[in-house]
Symmetry: C2
């Protein structure tokens, strides 16, 4: 029976002087003439386990030659070493090579650039950086589920395949089962989607919000957490064509209530990850983004500022800064403005009441008829982390807004039913999961927080 | 401050004789001349809350006319009613109509067929059945995350978009950003996918297993949980074109270890759901599948049988049954056989060591060179719930199998690297999440356990 390395680190005292069996991969092998050290990792824990092997072992010479990356089975006694850097090590009574690793192994115990590691994305989880990042990603996902489930939210799997064109099909991938080299055509020479699997043109969606709202009208509080797709042909540090998103939607909840939830959830997730991944966060603090731990601690204790978009523009206009983009009451705020505002308030800032013309049709129009009850959450270093709004619950006003903004109502009459049948004040937000992971780890490129990133002209593995 | 109905049911004593505010939807309204009863539900709890309103309220007449489906705000005192069927009710001091619901509301307080309810999939969560099913779905998802995360598994988001054709592109949806009515062509008249977003033809995938294996070689134990797509043009009760799947993969784990995990996980999930959703399971036991609770209790305490495929065929051949499909040592086993076998063993059965010719290339060939170390888990009433195998960890043998089975190695050299660099014994399985929900609720049609099902010629909402 093998023991996981995490177990040895967490319950060291229980295993002191006992024989254990560990299966793991070799990170380093420092062989000397009389003895040697293997540093091994089985993926259960961030830190490596040190194994000492000595000349008295039958296969000492072979052990000395085991290469980095090989998988091994080690049997030995756990010895406490309080005088050393490691609190304990394994004194091996046997080391068996399970799977060899040749010398051309692309992951060597030296510094590789992140650009290089993207080319071996299937091997990079074996490095410290990606071991930390993907552990944080996994634990943060659990934190999100825990937060919502503890509070009785329903996790709803909204569909990814959609035939409703309401988001603007330009931004969605088309999907088909037809032979693209021999498409069936209608009499007028267009593609005959009636012959496709769903009998009409289908897409993969960029949001589950509309379907989420229908479930909020039954379960009260719901959230989605799933993959999302955008066709954007944009090669930046923050864009990917496939990413994961969380979209909670709450009935009987207004904009203030929405901000309460966003603030509470973010603090919960940050705290959860810091508690469950101390080694990973330490590593990122040291080697990825100095000051990360302080930043995360600060946010847990911060009171988030709430301020209207109009007042933000006032502050920006008064600021003694030469802006690349001039702040404007009717416009979005640029990255440089976001940065200034979070520094101005020394912490996270909710910017509310945005000009209606630059926001979506489903957001509730304020009594001023100029702004909508929308909110973006800006956080230090990461900019916009969440975007949400109170929804327009009045059917007539919603239709008016759809007409004003040229939104096609065909195919989403079911969505309007949420306002026809027992509609109520409700609100929701979206959070890009990768943005959160970048924030939690300090990693600056979205390609380095997604296991296998998909970006324009890049879809390998 | 409103109180959720779940809170009132769970902590009734704390609220006795206190004033509470509840926002919810009307399920029934029985008005009499002097008083009336509203049954309301806010989605936080399966049971309805009973509200009594009396003639002394200013708007008594208006309250009497509130229709089914409307949203209301109720203020009142919680009164214990131990003599009644309901343990408590709310004596209203005020009832406010929030969102009206006209009489053409498609969900009336009567029995609707499931076929009809599929046509109003956006409203069906407001019925008892779908309230139960989708709550179970949400809680079961959490159970799966909890099981794996408590044991240190890494949750990995394997990509959905893929350009590797290895699964057979016939079974995958093609995706494109090109204008399908005006496709760019190469000189030889084929679609010029170089002009597509990824610079080559792309698909959405039916499995994350291969990428999952690469992460298991770094983190030891991993699992995926995400949507999956199949283009199958099949209109049965158990097929959908979009569904969710869980795919765990464990390093240093053989077939016996794999079965231990499958058995433990299933028991954990069943127990978790029964504990968290007693009202929902009761409802399904009464109105969906009589004996459901016994079935679920039995499985938690059952010892799962483990038997080789060859021995199963022996039993089937000896059985005094006239089969529609003759049992055959070289063939898959049919639904009727599965049913017989789980009844024969009075519980769940692991069928192992399948003929290699009917299984996938990546499964480990047994020393007999005829069978592979694969396992299907059969459970009473639901048939095959999980399918898994020990993987072929030997590079040469894996390549030999790929060649034998005509699997294209192009584009998946990265997968072969898992066997080149520190490969080890490892195993994994897949479980269709909808199959699990059908098993947990007794619901027989996959369309009724998916919020918005996608099946051939059906992609509405």
């Amino acid at each position: 029976m093998r023991t996981k390395i995490r177990e040895l680190f967490v319950k060291t005292a229980d295993y002191a002087s006992k024989e254990v069996t560990v299966c793991a991969w070799v990170r380093t092998n420092r062989a000397q003439s009389q003895f040697g050290f293997l540093n091994i990792n089985d993926g259960s824990f961030f830190e490596n386990l040190q194994v000492v092997y000595e000349q008295n072992l039958d296969n000492f010479d072979n052990i000395s030659k085991i290469g980095v990356g090989a998988s091994v089975k080690v049997v030995g006694t756990l010895v406490l070493t309080p005088e050393n850097k490691q609190p304990f090590e394994i004194k091996a009574s046997g080391v068996e090579l399970l799977g060899d690793c040749p010398e051309d192994y692309p992951i060597q115990p030296k510094r590789h650039t992140r650009e290089y590691l993207r080319t071996v994305a299937h091997l990079r989880p074996r490095t410290n950086l990606f071991s930390a990042v993907f552990r944080v990603r996994s634990v943060a996902a659990m934190a999100i589920h825990s937060y919502f489930q503890e509070r009785g939210y329903l996790y709803v799997h909204t569909p990814l395949i959609t035939c409703a064109d309401c988001e603007g099909s330009d931004q969605m991938f088309k999907i088909t089962t037809l032979n693209m080299n021999n498409l069936p055509l209608t009499d007028d020479g267009k593609v005959d989607f009636n012959k496709d699997l769903f009998g009409k043109q289908a897409f993969i969606t960029g949001s589950g919000q509309l379907q989420g709202e229908t479930f909020a009208m039954a379960f009260g509080d719901i959230y989605t957490f799933g993959p999302t797709f955008r066709t954007e042909n944009s090669n930046t540090q923050t864009h990917a064509n496939e990413f994961w998103m969380i979209e909670p939607e709450m009935a009987f909840c207004d904009l203030e209530g929405l901000m309460d939830i966003e603030e509470e959830m973010l603090k919960y997730v940050v705290k959860y990850v810091c508690e469950k991944c101390p080694e990973e966060i330490d590593f990122c603090d040291k080697f990825v983004s100095k000051g990360l731990k302080d930043k995360l601690n600060d946010i847990v204790n911060a009171k988030f500022t709430r301020i209207k978009h109009h007042d933000v523009i006032d502050i920006l206009k008064k600021a003694d800064v030469k802006w690349e983009f001039d702040p404007d009451y009717g416009e979005d705020i640029a990255k440089e403005h976001e940065k200034y505002i979070v520094e101005y308030f020394h912490g996270p800032v909710f910017v509310t009441d945005w000009p209606k013309d630059i926001k979506a049709y489903y957001m509730k129009v304020n009594p001023d008829n100029k702004t909508v009850a929308a909110v973006d959450l800006l956080v230090p270093q990461a900019g916009e982390l969440m975007g949400g709004s109170q929804r327009e619950e009045n059917l007539d006003k919603l239709i008016e807004r759809m007409d004003e903004m040229g939104v096609d109502k065909e195919g989403i009459d079911w969505y309007l039913d949420t306002r026809r049948y027992g509609g109520c004040v409700h609100s929701g937000f979206g959070m890009g999961f990768e943005r959160l992971i970048m924030y939690l780890t300090g990693v600056e490129n979205i390609r380095d927080v997604i296991p296998y990133p998909r970006t324009p002209r890049s879809c390998d593995f």
